[in-house]
Amino acid sequence: MATGNEAPAEQFEDMEQQNRAGVLGMWVFLVTELLLFGGLFGAFAYLRVAHSEVFADAAHHLDLPLASVNTAILLTSGLTMVLAEQAVHACRRRLGLVFLLATVLLGLIFLGIKGWEWHHEYQKQLMPILGLPFIYPGEHSQIAELFFNFYFTLTGLHAFHMLVGLVILVVMTIQVGRWQIPGRLTRQVRIVGLYWSFVDVVWIFVFTSLYLLRG
């Protein structure tokens, strides 16, 4: 187990307080991230209710099977992240590295599949960004374009958060590889794990809102 031989930073009374402060700080940050995504979800919810039929029809143009596989991949990365946390806490360096690398790999696969989906939408001319032509094979193309704007904004913002998470995970993998100050590594991996799980949770609702509401 990672021990408490490490001295707390100057502003903390003991390591327990420092650990709690780190976790609390990440939770506060995640709530601000919820504000960010919440605004987008709020706007999407409004338009989804206002234009339910067109949005439901537009959702049929998304690749549900591929996104479902992607969702399973992201959920699995959540598992490997938690197992990495546990391994590092138990001072099992190699196992921690395996699970961290698995998490990074699954995250990269997720982004690869997402990029593939976007490429498909680009080929079908359903990508109304950067001045690209938008040709919708159905009625009410202007409203459908709104749907796709939300699709690319939500999935794009989520992908950006994944990318940031992956960079941090790679840094953590290197740090765990070096295995200096195990107590500090435990704290850091736990805090990164919170961020990764949050990105997971956001994707669940992005997936549900964009892909599943097609009935």
């Binding site: 399973a72 099992r92 799980s197 949770v201 599943l212 097609r214």
Partner: protein
């Protein structure tokens, strides 16, 4: 290390994912949407409670998480209520 709980939670999440996909295929309309969001909420709750360790967390952390949930709940509820009551 405690493998069992995270693995069981993950299995539960995968099963719930399959359930929500089945709901999308087999049902439609507002019943389907309610089912989809209910399942998404359960998957998210499992992640929050177990993976993010909200269940064993102390009061301050739970308060922060709850405040976030309340905020987004109010945002979505009042936004949609505004629209449907016009």
């Amino acid at each position: 290390m405690h493998y069992l709980t995270p693995i069981l939670v993950w299995l539960g999440q995968i099963l719930l994912l399959l359930a929500t996909l089945a709901a999308t295929q087999l049902t439609s309309g507002s019943f389907q949407y309610s089912l989809n969001f209910a399942i998404a909420t359960v998957i998210a709750a499992l992640t929050l409670a177990i993976f993010m360790r909200l269940k064993p967390a102390d009061g301050v952390i739970r308060l922060v998480a709850l405040s976030g949930l309340l905020w987004i709940g109010f945002l979505l509820l009042l936004t949609i209520l505004d629209l449907v009551t016009r």
